[in-house]
Amino acid sequence: MKPALADRLSRAVVGCYPRRWKQRYAAELLDVLDQHRAGPRTVLSLAGGALSTHLDPDYRMQIRLKPHLSRDAKLYIAIFAAIIVGVPALVILPMIPRAIRESRWEPSSSDSVGAIAFSRDQRIMVSATGGPPWEATSTLWDLTGQARPRRLSVFEGGSPATISPDGATVAANAGGGRAQAALWNVTRPQHPARLAVLSAGLSGALWGEAFSPDGRILAVASTSGLVLWDVADPARPRLLRSLAADPLVSDNPGPVPFGVGQGDLVFSPDGRMLASVSGSGQVTLWDVARPARATRIATLAGPRDYLAALAFSPRGNLLAGVTYHGSVLVFRVAGPGRPARVTTRPGILASARFPGGGSTQAGPCGGDCDDPAAYAAGFTPDGRALTVVVDRPEAWPSTAARDTVFTWQVTGSGALSDLTTIFRDVSDAQPVLAPGGRIVADGSLTGGEVHLWTLP
């Protein structure tokens, strides 16, 4: 048996333990598997363990033996049952890893979707749940038939998560309170296989991952720093550079990481620059043309507010950002002179209408609460328009929310004009704009679902 197959089977078998046992031990056991070279014996020992735990009355008494049987008789019946169930299971298991994964690594119904990302052709989407490490899952979706997305597979690994532009590799949070990402080969999307764990270089909590446009570099950001990995061969990733020693977003007022971290860390379209959210109201621009010798170009400041979403224009000369409390900023990042802020458009939150109230309602807590809205930003492919999606939740305990989509015309110098807005009622969600800027994906914060809709 190949080690990769044994490893996948071992993980699938961990999914077969009783739920209550998994809640207590699965995270640790997966951690041991991360470090252990799995073989056929590993799979066997886990299958035996799963079976005996299922038979353990403390966890889940699945088989009730008649009380008048003697102790020995019960033992023999249990052994017999174990052989009857276990031997065929071991034969069938290798054939149905997908079935097991689908049935066992289910996103729980209360999980929030913490990350959504698309392949460049928008045919494959990955969503990842928050949730505790032993329950965090990533789900791959086939969007070829846009009206009817199809779930391809569910595998272990949580938010933040992203997918390479060619749709071949997923980077997901390997979890466990350690800042490390795992790379998954999804070229056979119904049978994702874990390739590597990127364990070096970071501490703190992961909040962002981004592939370069050519898919050769993966940037991974935690609250302690930012690292660049060479993932040209995703089975043998190489640490290229650790970029920031100072904390990046540890002092932000929202959850760390910010909901979906996808907009917070973006490569320019030519892959020569990387923009990352860093500290209060700041974006750091990095020169990553030579990633092993990447350097800081500039730290751009906005108002005293944290940036929640970033987007480069297609030509790479402008960088747009949306702040936590609803200011849209445009920075000029290429061309003559130092990078600088060219446009500030405050107050979009006030005009993001509210499902239950009028447009004048400032927000669930007077416009000054810590969780006013979730944002996505993106330019249209021709670079002439900037789209910002605001998901504005109704006051707790309602889960209703409204997406407001603002679209501005953008001049070459970064000035915004001709605002149009459209609304759509959704559930409380984290929006993401697909490449191309036409599809909005709303990751539910309460239901483990993703809702897709297309802009007119």
Partner: protein, 105 residues
């Protein structure tokens, strides 16, 4: 290695190896596995390890320490130390008798 485990019989049962491993201080799952492999040559698989860990924990012979979510260390309890000491006494007795008998044979 499988054969070696079988050959040691009940004296090499996972619980004894784990209690022995934890006697010099708390360890997490993988550290227990590597420690056991180092001192006994027994390559214990993760399924076996965690089956035994959950049983030992339920009997109150070891307890988990609340450090980190995923890599959780375990420590031996006073009850666990007593059980281990008792087991070692019985093994010493067996060893003593076995030595005498093989020497005189």
């Amino acid at each position: 290695m499988h054969g070696k485990f079988d050959g040691l019989g009940r004296f090499a049962d996972p619980s004894l190896l784990i209690l022995t491993s934890l006697s010099d201080g708390p360890k997490h799952g993988y550290a227990i596995m590597t420690d056991i492999a180092a001192f006994s040559g027994v390559g214990m698989e993760p399924g076996t390890l965690y089956g035994a860990l959950s049983r030992l924990e339920r009997r109150g012979w070891i307890r988990p320490l609340a450090v980190g979510e995923r890599r959780r260390p375990y420590e031996i309890t006073a009850a666990g130390q007593e059980v281990l000491a008792e087991q070692l006494r019985s093994m010493q007795q067996v060893v003593r008798v076995a030595r005498q008998r093989t020497a005189t044979a």
